[in-house]
Symmetry: D2
Subunit: 334 residues, 4 copies
């Protein structure tokens, strides 16, 4: 067994650098960077060396203690890396995003904000060759959530218009890129106009419904992706055409929206949500399998990225908390 990967790591390498949520408070207080044991894969699992790992709002929410995760825990769901042990997969470059609850990277299982992470084989997806590790890690949750809602749930077709609330955010940008590739017309509603936005509605000043009606010749949007929740639910709903469809990805419990049920019933609207954190890890991997060829052929391009050494994770978390202006914050273990 002289070639066993585990052996070759050597005794002194059984420890690794990792971000750990130790307590509550702002990132600088709740997060530590410290030495942790390299996790051991069980049956049907592999050990992945993390080369890059993005920070998502969900990680920030987790670090703030809002998911009720038992501490201490290594957070993080998105990643790109190389399988270092685990049957036929060793040496394979992989990318993906772990669901946050259920089996769940960064909550019930140690997450990706560490030098190594253990993953079920069924969660693996080959990394696009055209992307660097950093770029591949930056795709992650934003893109699979955008894909699941825009393509799988709502079935966007070429020529349709899609209103994207919070369109300047990471999920919003991913949805915009996917909609453009698909031949559809994204309409971005946000407080900041992202680069290259063709149709933009400034939510800090404009009336969303009126603006959408004007952009669609009075017809209303075919679809809406609501990445904001709460306050934008009603205006997004009212921007839809008869028989239009809408998906929201998260809403804070408060405030309650006050709206006429008749709007949904009598205009035959289709409203749903995506609770992505309950998605099956293997299903998520199959979405990354579909995203891969689109990035490999340049039909989709990765988002702008700011990188941080893993040791500085708290600063990356704080940047996400402050609003990262559409730039993905990516941690690089060393």
């Amino acid at each position: 067994m002289s070639t066993d990967t585990r052996h070759s790591l050597g005794i002194e390498q059984r420890q690794m650098g990792a971000v750990v949520i130790e307590g509550s408070g702002p990132p600088e207080k709740s997060l530590a960077y410290r030495s942790e044991p390299v996790p051991e894969p069980g049956p049907g699992e592999v050990l992945v060396e993390v080369h890059a790992a993005a920070v998502n709002p969900l990680d920030v929410v987790n670090a703030a203690g809002l998911l009720g995760t038992p501490l201490p825990v290594i957070p993080g769901g998105d990643y790109a890396g190389i399988v270092v042990s685990g049957g036929g997969h060793a040496g394979q470059q992989v990318w993906g995003s772990g669901p946050a609850l259920g089996m769940a990277l960064g909550t019930k299982r140690p997450g990706t904000h560490a030098r190594f992470v253990v993953l079920p084989e069924a969660w693996l997806s080959r990394k696009p060759e055209r992307l660097t590790m950093t770029q591949a890690a930056a795709v992650g949750r934003s893109y699979f959530v955008a894909w699941q809602t825009v393509i799988n749930v709502m079935g966007l077709t070429p020529g349709e218009t899609i209103l994207i609330t919070g369109g300047a955010g990471m999920v919003g940008q991913a949805a915009t890129a996917i909609a453009r590739w698909r031949g559809a017309e994204p309409i971005i509603a946000d407080r900041r106009r992202p680069d290259g936005a063709e149709h933009f509605i400034d939510t800090s000043s404009g009336d969303i419904r009126e603006a959408v009606l004007e952009l669609t010749g009075g017809r209303g949007a075919d679809l809406a992706l609501d990445t904001v929740g709460g306050a934008l639910f009603q205006p997004a709903l009212r921007s839809l055409r008869f028989d239009g469809r809408m998906t929201g990805i998260f809403s804070a419990p408060e405030p309650q929206a006050d709206f006429p049920v008749a709007e949904i019933y009598n205009r035959q609207l289709h409203v749903t949500g995506l609770a992505s954190v309950f998605m099956d890890g293997a299903d998520v991997a199959r979405i990354f399998d579909q995203l891969r060829p689109l990035f490999d052929r340049g039909l989709l391009t990765p988002p702008a990225v700011q990188t941080w050494p893993l040791e500085n994770a708290a600063k990356a978390y704080q940047t996400v908390l402050d609003g990262s202006a559409g730039i993905k914050q990516v941690l690089l273990p060393s």
Copy 2:
């Protein structure tokens, strides 16, 4: 051309008895029974002798002037009868329900509350042999709306539970019967317990959500059909399990429901409406084609019926307006 059906009607029969909406007000004031010219079929149309025609709440709403229909007009959408002229269809026993707007029986076209009605060929569906004309006319709108929502939109499968608000009403009873045939478990929520209801929630006294949770072992209903709108929207929504689906068929514009968007988004609910009045008449006929064998084999049975001579239509309308306690009011031209 001595056998032409139109000829055989004779000159004196070119007039027919018909109900006419002449003005606004309660049925007794707004409706008249009078002599009207028999309508003439255009290309692709047939003339149907109406043997029985049900009164629906939509007709009452129409007679009350709430649809803005230009007057005078012959109201009525549901019917059973015999094709008396129109190519290959003559002599055929047919049944069905005209959509109310669009091309639209009883609003833009003369309706079925008359001795004769003209219908596009594509709207025809053969009557079940096992049903009398009166029974066939009583199926009508209640059943196609129940079928469209429960089977086509929500895809009810055997073993699922479905909450039906307003379950004692005509659409609610139709949905209950369809759900039972399908092998599902209907839960009826209403102020009156209909005969044979296995699972009943009294909405005048009970908490719907709590009652549903108790009936489903804490799981929540798989589906909800909301035939009431407004006040029952929120309790119905909150009775659904994670990933549950719900369809409403109509809601008054007021009052607005006050509810947390998070309920839909984070619990991944699927909420939609059916604006049945905009359905295509040919699609409606294809639903009656599916209902036919179910009635012919006794897998579905027609609702209880009270009949009225066509001359007494105003009383039948008033009965529907007062609440018909789950008994279909059917007009019989003579």
Copy 3:
């Protein structure tokens, strides 16, 4: 119940009566009834006491050595019984059918033709209360294959006609019953007219296509379920209407059918197969969950049954091999 169920079985009960495929040849030669160790459930598995277990053609094929199963093995896939150990399931009455390959009851795992069988929890489905153990075991493979093809793959709707080749066999009878419940018109093609067949084509004398055209007024069948394969493929295909759909469940490799491709392409037919042995065990259990309420309400009724003591399994297998005339052969462990 202070002691573990396994304990309560007692040391002398760790052995059980079981059918074992020991070699090749006809059932009388290849099958033995002997004492075998009671299998032990692993993680996520339960131990089920088998109360009744049907014999399927697939078991006979297995006993004949045609599946290449490593011997010795306990055969059998269908069963009804009681969970005797395994967490929250103990005491539950269950029914179902194990897929034959893959994970696979009776090939890679010990089968149900024994007093006990170990099953993954995810494969469990509650038995209908209305059925006896014997009746529940008789539903098994025939019904889930019929359901998967007729409902899930082909989406039979009320009023459609479905040609069922081999309609007098067990799968054919199950498909006929399901089609009737669904409000469709089954046309049975076989060498023997099963009891109660309304539309029957004698395949030993008649021309299938001509007979179907006559029964459907020249239109052709909407669907075909081909349970025979080989020789009936072409006549079944040619009996379909334009845009019709057809599913086959198995065909011997020879002989090859000789047919014009134009029949499929230019008449826009939809032809597929179901390789049920590769279905996921959990998906199969979800089908039994849908069948349960239909049997519990009498919307479906179990097939006629002949029972055998488990010791006489070879005779039951021989009966299936000889053709069981639509009567399910069920083994009863004692």
Copy 4:
């Protein structure tokens, strides 16, 4: 433009140049270019001035008398042009392709190989702004057939492999372009390697199945589009993976394919055809509505084109008959 468009055409312009199928034989003999009356739109129809019209194999088949079209008739289905009369559409640039039978351009209705054509309003689709009239006319039937089969019928997803028999032909090239945009991997099987083909199988020398297995790492293709029929049916079918799906667009009645049914049934293949000539004209227009944004954004590019004055139609037909090597033959009325 104070006068009605019809008026402004003037009396002497009520005649137009048109190609007419006058008899049987090769194009040079069967086709004439002559003066014909400008057709008059009926209710719900518009008059379109044809600026460019492609010649398809279907037109050649029509001119050869193989569709049994009553003569004389103006042939042609594809077109790009400008609406010159018809309500709100006048002045609109449109493109599309008429179905060949049913209502049917070039068979039951005068076709597009003329200076003017009458079309139902519901068949109209706005031309992509980025394409010239000639380019828009060249998209036509090839692209809507490719779209209907690859996207609507088979549901190609990113990363899937699709074998395209006859991949160097016009439909094959359209399918290849659509597959690439979709992020899939087309494998072209033909006698001639088209420019830019990444994966090519020479059908005149190679074994299709072996080549596909090699290109897919032994897995088989996910999908096959068979544009050839007959001889390539069996090898295409055998190139599919388990559970793979295949669509053919036309096959000559002879020769019959000789193949094991077991190939379809036991490998769970999904085989169907598209009889595009029976598609509804409005549904075809909705496909062009989806193609429009893809051409307008450069996600799809139009095929190479050779143009002919309308007077020389016979030569264009002969070129299509001889095999046009992937270059679309387009007629230009003057």
